[in-house]
């Protein structure tokens, strides 16, 4: 069947018929109703709405950028730009032989530090548990933080990462995207950094535009010549 895209707002009937409701869609009788502002996508047997607004809701295995806000003697609390705080246990950083008496948490991570972390566990009953025990995760030492709307992160990545690859190629910057809408950009040259930041903000503003990849490409190239 056709992969029809349509702009929807809450309450819009996307279609009727035997479809499986996925993200941001509910089934009422045989009507399929959108529950968020966004773009509806119809697949063979399912329908989903890609939202254009809303807060970040943690999902297991998401990569997020978090900011340390406080710590207890056993764990850190991270601001992950969500309605819940990320919970980072000390064992994760110090290893199994962590002792609350011997080890000082602030020696590894202080308030205000940025970390790249992965959501290890999250359910309705508890705050999300995050981990930094993996390759490419951990404290972020350099780079600039750019904040965009979390709902636009998939657009920034693009289909199979095309958008972000293009930005990285054109500017020579290394971009770490957190699913929570926080992005760290680091680049050798200040021009590349500025250009990458501008491209990211452009995606944030124009997320609903159809041929955005071309527009961003145009912007990146035009600036390069002048």
């Amino acid at each position: 069947m056709e992969n029809k895209r349509k702009y929807v707002i809450p309450g819009d009937v996307i279609t009727t018929g035997p479809y499986r409701p996925e993200q941001n869609v509910i089934l009422d009788g045989n009507k399929i109703i959108a529950t968020a502002i966004g773009i509806s996508e119809i697949y063979d047997d399912s329908i989903k709405v890609i939202p254009l607004t809303g807060k970040y809701i943690p999902k297991i295995d998401d990569l997020v950028i978090g900011k340390v806000v406080s710590h207890t003697s056993l764990s850190w609390e991270l601001d992950i730009n969500s309605c819940y705080v990320g919970f980072l246990p000390a064992q994760d950083v110090f290893g199994r032989d962590f002792s609350a008496h011997a080890d000082e948490l602030t020696s590894k991570l202080k308030s205000g530090d940025l970390v790249a972390a992965r959501i290890a566990n999250f359910d309705r009953t508890r705050d999300p548990l995050v981990t930094i025990a993996d390759r490419d995760l951990g404290k972020i030492d350099s780079g600039t933080l750019v904040k965009i709307s979390p709902s636009k992160v998939p657009r920034l990545i693009g289909k199979r990462g095309t958008m972000i690859q293009m930005i990285e190629m054109a500017t020579g910057a290394a971009v770490t995207i957190g699913q929570n809408g926080w992005i760290v950009v680091s680049c050798e040259t200040p021009e590349g950094l500025l250009k990458a930041k501008k491209a990211i903000q452009m995606v944030d503003e124009k997320a609903h535009v159809a041929n955005l990849t071309d527009q961003v490409k145009e912007m990146l190239e035009s600036k390069g010549e002048s």
């Binding site: 702009y7 309450g11 009422d28 607004t53 809303g54």
Partner: protein, 245 residues
């Protein structure tokens, strides 16, 4: 506004009301989504001479903590009238009427929002009435649902609201301040058009069963007009730039 005008003709022989409208004609309505930078979602509505601004925060942490619910998110609504919103200065402290309207709007929005997706959080809706001219609760409710959609809170449908009533023995749509003061009945209705469900229904006055039925139908017709404008406001904000729908 102000005191009751005893010589006021609510409906003349040509079926024209005191402000020049026909019996089934709503006032001029303008809705704008967004506009406030610091709120997660916002909306502004002009409903005749009513001017109302709504800001929405959340889902966010609940303070005080004991109010939070581990099964679902909670909705908190504050309806507030500015001291300058009416002809005589209104005391800015929440009055009995404002507390009631806050509760009524909260209960009218609850069937629409899907807060069970965000346990232990709260969604706060702040409604500021800048200028009042009868029917503020309907206008506020309509604007609040636009602001909630703008904040990205999942909703089953938008709640549109419009009042119907009775003045000069005729059922009229969208009761204004004069008709509310001197008329015979006022019935605010909140309605979810896609789901065909009523979320708010109040009645102040006396109606016969037949009039009641007609009044509800008239009100729902008004809600559908408001609903189209709510949709337009959101479409303009999110899919503007000359994109086709």
């Amino acid at each position: 506004m102000g005191g009751r005008d005893t010589t006021l003709v609510l409906l003349d022989e040509n079926g024209i009301r005191c402000d020049g409208r026909k019996v089934d004609e709503p006032r001029r309505i303008m809705i704008k989504a967004g506009g406030l930078k610091n709120a997660d979602g916002s909306a502004y509505i002009e409903f005749g001479d009513n001017k109302i601004l709504v800001g929405v925060f959340g889902p966010r942490d609940v303070h005080p903590k004991h109010m939070s619910n581990t099964d679902t998110g909670i909705l908190r609504v504050r309806y507030h009238m500015e001291p300058f919103s009416v002809t005589e200065r209104k005391n800015p402290a929440p009055s009995r009427r404002e507390i009631e309207i806050s509760k009524v709007i909260k209960e009218a929005l609850e069937p629409a929002v899907m807060l069970e997706k965000f346990p232990r959080t709260a969604v706060d809706v702040y409604i500021e009435v800048l200028q009042a001219d009868g029917g503020t609760r309907c206008a506020a409710l309509s604007a609040a649902s636009v602001a909630l959609a703008d904040a990205g809170i999942p909703m089953r449908d938008m709640v549109a609201a419009c009042a119907a009533g009775k003045a000069a023995d005729t059922i009229i749509l969208d009761v204004n301040n004069e008709e509310d003061q001197a008329g015979q009945a006022d019935m605010p209705i909140g309605y979810m058009p896609s789901l065909e469900k009523i979320t708010l229904l109040q009645l102040d006055g006396v109606l016969t069963p037949a009039e009641y039925k007609k009044c509800v139908e008239t009100g729902i017709h008004g809600c559908k007009i408001v609903y189209e404008l709510q949709k337009k406001a959101l479409t303009d904000k999110y899919f503007g730039n000359g994109e086709s729908k």
